[in-house]
Every structure is written in C-alpha cells, then in structure tokens.
C-alpha cells in the first residue's frame, strides 16, 4: 500500500501518453519525417516547463513529500555511451514507433504483441549488462 501513489502517477502517465498520441507509431514516423510540430511541441513543452520546475525546486530548496532535501542526480559524463547507446535506441524507437513508456502503455491498450517487444527489450538490457565492460563509455 506504501506504493499506491506510484500507481496513481503511473495511471496519469499512461493516460497522458495515450491522449497526447505519443504512443502512436504514426506520430513517431511523422516526427522523424519532420511533417508536424506535434511531437516536438510535446517534448519541447515538457522540457521547458520541466526546466522551470527544476529551477523553482532548486531556488526554493524544496523538500520532498517525506520532508527530505531533494537530490538532483547528475547524469554520468559518459559521452560515448550517450551518443552510441542513444543512436542504438533511436534505431529501435523509430522501428517500433515507441520508446519504453509507450511500449507498456500500448500493452495496456490490448496490443499483446507489444509484450514480445518488451521481452525483447529486457533481453537487450541483459545483453548490454553482459557486454558492458567491452563497450566504450
């Protein structure tokens, strides 16, 4: 029961992904074809308002719901991994038309075949873990 709030936040996320149409394979193709502003608008608005949120939280030294100071984690400066891994993910994103969040949401829509894509993504993560020490970071 201690995690029930995360269930609620997840439901909100699933609804937003659905109603924004960010889960649509067609929207992702449209984005990579530069035929519409829609997806750029969604991501751009999330980034700009998110930057405002980060700024406000830092300026006001806001505490989290448990009363502890919020720790903003820095992303590791592994630029090779960001670029190479990012490119591999990008290849998969445009093929399946979904990033990880939308994969789960689509499964919830009843597209059971996307369950196989999720299993395959888990195997991809497993494979990364196995070869991690041999890859540039």
């Amino acid at each position: 029961m201690k995690y029930i709030n995360f269930l609620g936040i997840g439901i909100l996320f699933g609804l937003v992904m659905t109603k924004s149409e960010a889960i649509s394979w067609f929207r992702i193709q449209e984005m990579f074809m530069f035929h519409s502003f829609h997806m750029y608008g969604i991501i751009g608005m999330a980034v700009v308002s998110g930057a405002g949120i980060h700024l406000l939280l830092k300026r006001s030294r806001s505490k989290n719901f448990e009363g502890d100071a919020i720790v903003f984690q820095e992303k590791p400066k592994t630029y090779k991994a960001s670029l190479l891994g990012g490119t591999i993910f990008g290849l998969g994103w445009a093929l399946t038309g979904a990033c990880p969040g939308p994969l789960y949401v689509l499964f919830g829509h009843g597209y059971l075949i996307v369950g196989l894509t999720i299993v395959s993504a888990i195997l991809g993560a497993l494979c990364y873990g196995y070869f991690r020490s041999k890859l540039p970071h």
Partner: protein, 191 residues
C-alpha cells in the same frame, strides 16, 4: 467535458502534464526514467548473480514497477472508458509517404485507432522479415541502447534536458541520428 477528455489532447497540455508526472516523482523522492525498469526486471530475475551490472538492491526500484503497472492501467482506461472515437490524425504528407511504402494510416475508426500499423504488428506477421525486425529487433535495440545511453526519452530527453545535463543532450542527438536512419533508410528497405 468528457468528450474533451476523450479526444486528443493539445501538445501544450500534454507536455505540461508530462512535466507534472516528473514533478510528482521528484517530490516522491524518485526519478522519472522508464527504461530503468528493464534493468530492474533483469535484476529481479537473478541476473545479478552472474553480471555485476544487475547486482544491486532492486527492491529500491520496486516503486518503478508499480508506476509501470499504473501506466499499463492508464493505457487500458485510455482505450476503453476514455477511448477516442477518432483515429490519430497525422499529417497528410506522412500519410502519403507511408502509403508509398504500402503502409496505410487509418482514416476512420473502423480502419483502426492509429496507434500501431496493425498489419505489421500482428502475430501472423511476426515471422516475416519486416515483422521480426520491427517487433523483435526493434525492442532489443531499445533495451540495449537505453541501458548503454543510461536513459530514454523520459530519463534523458525530459528529465536530463530540463535539468541541463550535457550527457542528455548528447544522448538526444544520438536518438535522432538513430531515428532518422530507421525512418528514412531502414523502413524503406523493409517494405
């Protein structure tokens, strides 16, 4: 009002709500990053016994699986109680480009909801070349690539960029290099 909620939401509202999800997770002491779930699932499955990368206290990520369960339920609500009566309306240019590959975008709800090209994403198409590459290989690249890059659209493009993280900007450049290659070079080869 209900009709308004059932229809597609404007990009500005959608973008604001995504940052609200991020805010709620930060205030709950967590981070917004969906692709970590692939790592968590491997760790729960016992991968940490053989591979150090998965040897961590996955119980600290238990919340993420609950969040994902919620997003699955959100999807179910979005396709039932709050289903849109119109399919996703993409740009006519994209419709034409996809048609030239033989992929049909639904024009009305009888033809589909416009979330997935259903003739590609079907169990009967799974063992064709395009089906296998899109459904199976595509998923594998997502899992491998997001873990190598250390994040996906939520962790890098939204959380990372909005927290002014340079590695996230580099990752997003990578997302676009890969995405443009798939859409403009690989997809036309598959159809």
């Amino acid at each position: 009002m209900l009709e308004l909620i059932k229809g597609a939401w404007h990009w500005s509202i959608s973008g604001l709500l995504i940052s609200l999800v991020m805010l709620l997770l930060i205030k709950s002491g967590k981070r917004f990053g969906v692709s970590s779930s692939f790592k968590t699932i491997c760790a729960i499955g016992g991968a940490g016994k053989k591979i150090d990368y998965f040897d961590y206290n996955w119980r600290s990520h238990y919340w993420l699986l609950i969040f994902i369960l919620g997003s699955i339920i959100g999807g179910t609500i979005g396709s039932t109680l709050l289903a849109n009566s119109n399919p996703v309306k993409i740009s006519p240019q994209t419709v034409t480009s996809l048609k030239s590959l033989g992929i049909n975008a639904p024009m009305n709800i009888e033809e589909g909801r416009g979330f997935l090209p259903e003739e590609i994403f079907s169990f009967s198409n799974l063992f064709s070349m395009n089906g296998f590459i899109i459904i199976i290989l595509g998923g594998f690249l997502i899992g491998f690539g997001t873990r190598w890059a250390g994040g996906c659209t939520s962790g890098h493009a939204i959380s990372g960029l909005s927290n002014l993280q340079l590695p996230s900007l580099v990752a997003v450049v990578g997302f676009f290099i890969g995405g443009l290659l798939s859409t403009h070079l690989i997809l036309p080869l598959l159809f």
